[in-house]
């Protein structure tokens, strides 16, 4: 009797779970179906395009480029459609790492982290096995490691050999910033500028001179103290912009400032860290001092940290912080090139083991020339965007933004100044990296007043050493 019941339970379990699996979500099934439908549709289109409906050689040779990215992206979708329309022999398959929310609680932070881990792990495994997507958006993927293990196709040579590709059409300093001794393995589609928006009128009132071309964080702190001492209109030097995406937390400053002084604490060549030095705990205290002194605080301030994503964003941001505002370059490391800092966005690479590398390159070029979001890497596109703005004459900002949809006039002079910043954007802002992550994560305890700077420094040193010595 007991035997029987167990058998039955087991049997029914298996049947049930099998049934559950076979009936696997209708959504997936339908996705596949729609995918297939699309395919046949496209094939049909392709054959119609060649005007050879009876015998269709193009469908047989049709090449598929698998293009993977973590975040679903409409620009990619758009580009895929346009490209496929003009290239009937190419099919582009877009894959996203973000799982479509299966249930109502889908899409929250934990789900996102799980998705990300899965995306990274499975892409890594696939790349190592010589599989994986043909073209990929390297966001969240370790581009450096991919490059180090030659998993990505060298694009520098392609650029040189490709007759249709002229480097001078692009913002070369941004394009080439990823180059190392081995070559260039990824290209960004767009970039953004990092800096600060300053209230010129208020600064003029205090009489403090600002030299944003050559200032380091130390200079900035000194300037900040002067500004505060001058008892101008603001009580804070760097603040949170209301309604703007402005970073002004400790983590932001720790990341920025430690990045600027990275070489001081980490000897990459010798794989040694010196976070346990007096200097580092002093630095931490200095950053905390900035918060304690009110150089950094919430509310209106002389400067606001901003990331400028596009010419429109530039003007809107300036407008949002007052009538007499200007964009200032972010303080940078001692000895670094002067100019605004930029961050590459939509960094794309081609799988070195892909069988459609040439086709992927063509599509990548198409993306570089045709996507227009942010500051496009293509100069021509940038000029077009700026010209369009000038022609339009006014900008109607988003209603939910700080300007509440109030239209304002496009200031051509300001746009011209932006061009200088864009052309001279010099320092790549690379604030990612596991060491920095460790620094930011562990220093939080110090800023919260839970541990001493020395304890934190010791802990950072401990972990950073492990990391560097791997």
């Amino acid at each position: 009797m007991p035997k029987w019941s167990w058998k039955w339970i087991t049997l029914s379990l298996v049947t049930l779970s099998l049934a559950a699996c076979n009936a696997t979500p209708g959504t997936d099934g339908s996705q596949e179906n729609t995918g297939a439908d699309q395919e046949t549709n496209q094939t049909r289109n392709a054959s119609a395009g060649t005007g050879n409906a009876l015998d269709d050689p193009s469908s047989g040779e049709r090449k598929t480029i698998v293009f993977s990215a973590f975040w679903p992206n409409e620009q990619y979708e758009q580009a895929k459609k346009e490209y496929e329309a003009t290239h009937p022999d190419i099919e582009i398959k877009l894959q996203y790492g973000l799982s479509t929310p299966y249930s109502d609680e889908g899409g929250d932070e934990a789900q996102l982290n799980a998705d990300m881990e899965k995306y990274i792990t499975s892409t890594n495994a696939a790349m190592l096995a010589g599989k994986g997507p043909d073209l990929m958006d390297l966001r969240y993927l370790s581009a450096e490691d991919y490059t180090a293990h030659r998993l990505l196709d060298e694009l520098g040579k392609r650029m040189d050999q490709d007759q249709t590709f002229d480097k001078s059409d692009y913002f070369t300093h941004v394009l080439e910033s990823g180059r190392n001794e081995e070559g260039l393995f990824s290209v960004p589609l767009t970039f953004s500028l990092g800096g600060m928006i300053g209230d010129q009128a208020a600064i003029a009132q205090t009489g403090v001179k600002i030299d944003d071309r050559n200032w380091t964080w130390n200079d900035f702190i000194a300037t900040g103290q002067k500004l505060l001492a001058a008892k101008g209109p603001y009580k804070t030097v760097i603040g949170n912009g209301e309604g703007m995406i402005a970073a002004a937390g400790t983590d932001f400053f720790v990341r920025s400032i430690v990045t600027d002084n990275y070489g001081w604490f980490v000897d990459e060549a010798k794989r040694k860290a010196s976070f346990d030095s007096q200097d580092f705990s002093e630095l931490l205290k200095q950053i905390k001092g900035m918060f304690d002194d009110g150089i950094i605080a919430g509310g209106p301030a002389y400067f606001t940290n901003v990331t400028i994503n596009s010419p429109t964003d530039y003007l809107t941001s300036l407008q949002a912080f007052g009538d007499q505002t200007a964009f200032y370059a972010k303080p940078h490391a001692t000895g670094a090139a002067a100019g605004a800092a930029f961050t590459k966005e939509y960094n794309l690479g081609i799988n070195a083991k892909s069988s459609v590398r040439d086709e992927s390159w063509e599509f990548l070029k198409y993306l570089m020339n045709h996507t227009s979001f942010g500051f496009p890497i293509n100069k021509q596109r940038y000029m077009e965007d700026v010209q369009e703005l000038k022609d339009k004459g006014t900008i109607a900002p988003d209603k939910t933004g700080p300007l509440q949809g109030k239209e304002f006039r496009v200031d051509a002079a300001k746009l011209d100044r932006l061009e200088d910043f864009v052309n001279q954007a010099a320092q790549e802002r690379n604030e990612s990296g596991k060491v920095l992550d460790i620094v930011v994560a562990e220093s939080a305890a110090y800023f919260a007043g839970q541990k001493s700077a020395e304890d934190v420094a010791r802990l950072i040193q401990n972990k950073a050493n492990t990391l560097l010595n791997e």
Binding site: T10, L13, V14, L16, S17, L18, A20, C21, T24, P25, T27, D28, S99, T100, Y102, S103, D104, E105, G106, D108, E109, A110, Q111, N113, A114, E117, K118, T121, S122, A125, A126, L128, A129, G130, K131, A444, A445, F447, A448, G449, Q450
Partner: protein, 292 residues
């Protein structure tokens, strides 16, 4: 042990009972806390993993370990079992992955174990050593080659990519060999006298005798594969095919209560299985451990 007095027996029992209670603590804690209201859980454990600003009074804030909820609720269970279809889907996914693995590995493992335990051939001990060694290999080592093989077999994103390596795992061979080597040869000899072949000896004599071993193996395998995380993460792209072991990682920090409920439900099958098969399990493990 005649000199053992009743008092010392009682004291020892109490001491061991206290130890047992301590062992049970994490389990009891999880189960009991799963009935706590989300609000109370937030109140008690919100500081977890946070470097909160030290309060002005200098009084440091700590999480409040609490075993018994103030107020019982089954909301979290309703959330997990009813409101979200994900948990149950993943639960059945897990069952569909684990049951074939357990069945396959016990069967195939017993067959191989028979050869290792009761047959003699060249290189037997060396081969067995290789089996044992693979149990110690971290999964990352074979991951990339395995990926290639699964891809070659066309099994990527298929449940078989998880099930196949599971079925051929070495632990079953190891455990069953240990167990079978205690079964006296005399029984086999007797059967051989009656003209039985190895197949019959295996099926009629060894397997029935190895029942406790099989039970113990099944429970251990069940636990092991119920908890696998990395393999499904890499081999199952499709979110709808993922097993339950990945569910807990997808629960938000803000939903700890749901996490407790899911944890309790997650361990329930194994605890039930263990309690049911405990006597077999104990016997099976014990016999596998005694060299005779």
């Amino acid at each position: 042990m005649a000199h053992q007095t009743r008092l010392s027996r009682l004291l020892l029992s109490l001491a061991l009972g206290a130890f047992a209670a301590a062992m049970l603590f994490p389990i009891a804690f999880t189960v009991l806390n799963s009935f706590m209201t989300e609000e109370e859980i937030g109140r008690n454990y919100d500081l977890l993993g946070k470097m909160a600003e030290a309060p002005a009074g200098g009084q440091a804030a700590f999480v409040n370990l609490k075993l018994l909820p103030d107020w019982l609720t089954i909301r979290q269970y309703a959330q997990v079992l009813i409101l979200s279809p994900k948990f149950l889907r993943m639960f059945w996914n897990s069952i569909a992955l684990v049951l074939p693995i357990v069945a396959g590995q016990t069967l195939i493992g017993s067959l191989a174990a028979y050869a290792f335990a009761k047959l003699r051939f060249w290189g037997r001990d060396q081969l067995f050593l290789v089996y044992v060694m693979t149990m110690l290999m971290p999964f990352q080592v074979t991951l990339v080659p395995n990926y290639l093989i699964m891809d070659r077999l066309g099994l990527m994103d298929h449940e078989l990519a998880i099930i196949l390596p599971g079925i051929f795992g070495a632990f079953g061979v190891f455990m069953m060999r240990q167990f079978m080597s205690h079964i006296p040869y005399a029984l086999m000899e007797a059967a051989k006298m009656d003209g039985a072949g190895h197949g019959i000896i295996f099926a009629r004599i060894l397997l029935p005798l190895a029942k406790p071993g099989l039970a113990a193996l099944a429970v251990l395998l069940f636990v092991d594969y119920w908890n696998m995380v990395e393999q499904p993460l890499i081999f199952l792209q499709d979110a709808a095919k993922q097993p339950l072991s990945l569910f807990l990682a997808q629960i938000n920090q803000s939903a700890r209560g749901v996490g407790f409920a899911a944890s309790a439900l997650y361990m329930a099958p194994m605890v039930l299985l263990f309690l049911y098969a405990e006597s077999y399990f104990v016997e099976g493990i014990q016999q596998s451990g005694i060299k005779g």
